[in-house]
């Protein structure tokens, strides 16, 4: 078996002060869902940001489709087909839903109306609200705008930092369904999740991080079945 489509390989680094990641590896195969879980302060979001080039990785590498992209800026990674949905401030609140999508496609010079239709097909509520300011939407709808915005570049990898933070359980289930749908279109998904159990259920691959290190790595199902993981991280 060859290398995964996107891999953050043995990354060590932090925001400038002490290192937060210590030889941490996360990876995702084409069209699969990889989930990073772990206790608070384990460096889950930091691992994600490291993969996206938002912090200093002084050893280890990030490779996309075999190409070393460790030195690229986040913007350059967007151009390479990576998309990132931050945990907070992930929409343009003063702009309409449609304008949010247009800004997501800012780097594209071709006709984006087809992609906008695809996003509306995936999230029908957004079509209804397309003239409304994104900041006026509910939490779940905002997350849909955020994911929709990220999908506008037609990425090959979608990275989500806690997409279900602060939304109700029903909305969470619906968001997970949509994420599976996105993965089915061939887009790889790498996400950090607080709701570990539900996230591992839909994950092809799961990474349990503890203090910036890989504690357990396996398929989502195997991790859910592992008594040790259940006891320590999933509350029994």
């Amino acid at each position: 078996m060859g290398e995964p489509f996107l891999i953050g390989d043995r990354m060590t680094g932090g925001y400038g002060g002490a290192d937060i990641l210590h030889g941490c590896t996360v990876a995702v195969e084409k069209g699969e869902i990889a989930v990073i879980v772990g206790p608070n302060g384990a460096g889950k979001s930091t691992a994600m940001k490291a993969v996206f080039g938002m912090l200093n990785v002084h050893s280890g590498a990030v490779r996309l489709n075999g190409e070393d992209i460790t030195a690229l800026t986040p913007q350059a990674r967007v151009a390479k087909g990576m998309a990132f949905v931050p945990q907070t401030s992930n929409i343009f609140t003063s702009m309409s839903v449609e304008e949010n999508l247009e800004m997501g496609a800012f780097l594209r010079r071709d006709d984006i109306s087809g992609t906008i239709e695809e996003v509306y097909h995936l999230f029908p509520i957004l079509k209804e609200k397309r003239r409304q300011a994104a900041g006026e939407l509910s939490g779940g709808q905002r997350q849909q705008v955020a994911v929709g915005r990220a999908l506008m570049t037609k990425p090959s990898v979608l990275m989500l930092d806690e997409p279900t933070a602060g939304v109700s359980p029903i909305v969470m289930d619906e968001l997970f369904d949509r994420i599976i749908e996105v993965a089915r279109t061939g887009i790889s998904i790498l996400m950090v999740e607080q709701n570990a159990r539900q996230a591992l259920e839909i994950a092809d691959k799961g990474y349990v991080l503890v203090q910036g290190r890989n504690a357990y790595t396996d398929t989502g199902k195997a991790l859910l079945a592992d008594p040790e993981v259940r006891r320590t991280f999933l509350g029994g």
Binding site: P74, Q75, V78, A79, F84, P86, S89, N90, I91, F92, T93, S94, M95, E99, E102, M103, G104, F106, L107, R149, T153
Partner: protein, 336 residues
């Protein structure tokens, strides 16, 4: 009681001048608010940017006049305005390259940028006085009135005259055109939307591939156009004097803050609010009241709340009240 004459007097001395002044302030405040929204600092050099732009336009106007070129009834300065804007845009882009970009790369705090802009203010201040001098310049030519008071009186048979100066009419028409263009640009074009996106959420704009340096450069060019237009209109309406333009900073900032910093609609509303307050509070109401009140009740004094020397106090008081009770301004801009 003579309501008709009262209305005409009110229009002549309050409504028309205040509307023209309000339009000038609104254009100035739009520049301040754009810089605040996108570059994220209060630009204290804005008044002097207006002075520089007006000076450049005056110099070009003099050049055109020396070749005998004029616009007939319209002031020649309108012909010179595009050149004035271009020169000011070059100055602002140069200032950004030489001064502001350094602090942007350092990710300097807004308060540091404010102090930096004060430095720029002093330099522009000196530059303008060095080139054109500290004196008053009148550069309006062409027809002086659209309607003058005597023609109006003869036309209507009223005792009160209503004069509309060409400069006032031009101010209002130009302001409407400029504001319409600006809003069309910000709401309809790709570049305009990217500027709004950058102002809304800088990090997400970067993630979306919006080039910050390009957004900043376009902002400075638009600010040059707004500041020069505002300055030239003010100068045509009154006169050009470097120090007066420096003083305009207060009402302009008051307008931008009252409307809500970073909100273009707010800047326009704020401009008119400040202008109307300033003019109504410093106007001597004796004449209008004499027409309106029954005979024998005409006021003896001037009924002027504040003498015109204190007009800046009006902006200042409004500014303080807004900052105390609604710091985000009428239109909920960013808090100061």
């Amino acid at each position: 009681m003579d309501v008709l004459n009262a209305v005409v007097a009110l229009a002549n001395f309050v409504l028309i001048p205040a509307t023209a002044y309000g339009a000038q302030l609104a254009l100035g405040a739009l520049g301040v608010t754009l810089i605040y929204g996108i570059l994220r600092f209060s630009n204290f050099a804005h008044g002097d940017t207006m002075a520089f732009g007006t000076m450049a336009t005056i110099l070009v106007t003099w050049g055109l006049q020396s070749y005998g070129i004029s616009l007939g009834p319209l002031p020649t300065a309108l012909l010179a305005l595009p050149a004035g804007i271009a020169i000011t845009a070059l100055l602002l882009l140069g200032t950004d390259r030489a001064v502001y970009r350094f602090y942007r790369e350092q990710k300097a705090k807004p308060v540091i940028l404010v102090i930096v802009s004060m430095g720029v203010m002093f330099i522009l201040n000196g530059l303008v006085r060095f080139i054109i001098g500290p004196d008053d310049h009148r550069f309006a030519d062409g027809a002086r009135f659209l309607i003058d008071a005597r023609t109006f009186r003869e036309m209507t048979g009223l005792a009160e005259g209503l004069a509309i100066r060409t400069s006032q009419a031009i101010t209002i028409v130009t302001a409407v055109v400029v504001v319409a263009l600006l809003f069309w640009f910000l709401n309809r074009t790709r570049t305009g939307k990217s500027m709004r996106a950058f102002s809304d959420n800088e990090d997400l704009a970067l993630l979306s591939g919006i080039n910050p340096e390009r957004v900043v450069a376009i902002t400075w060019i638009i600010v040059a156009a707004l500041a020069t237009t505002a300055g030239v209109l003010y100068g045509l309406d009154k006169s050009f004097k470097a120090f007066t333009y420096f003083q305009l900073l207060l009402p302009i900032f008051a307008a931008a803050i009252v409307g809500g910093l970073g909100n273009p609609l707010g800047a326009i509303a704020g401009g008119f609010l400040i202008a109307y307050s300033e003019v109504t509070i410093t106007y001597a109401w004796k004449k209008v009241l004499t027409y309106l009140l029954p005979d024998g009740m005409a006021p003896e004094g001037l009924v002027q709340l504040l003498s015109t020397e204190y007009k800046f106090a009006v902006s200042f008081v409004i500014l303080v009240i807004v900052l105390l009770f609604r710091p985000t301004g009428i239109f909920r801009g960013k808090s100061v």
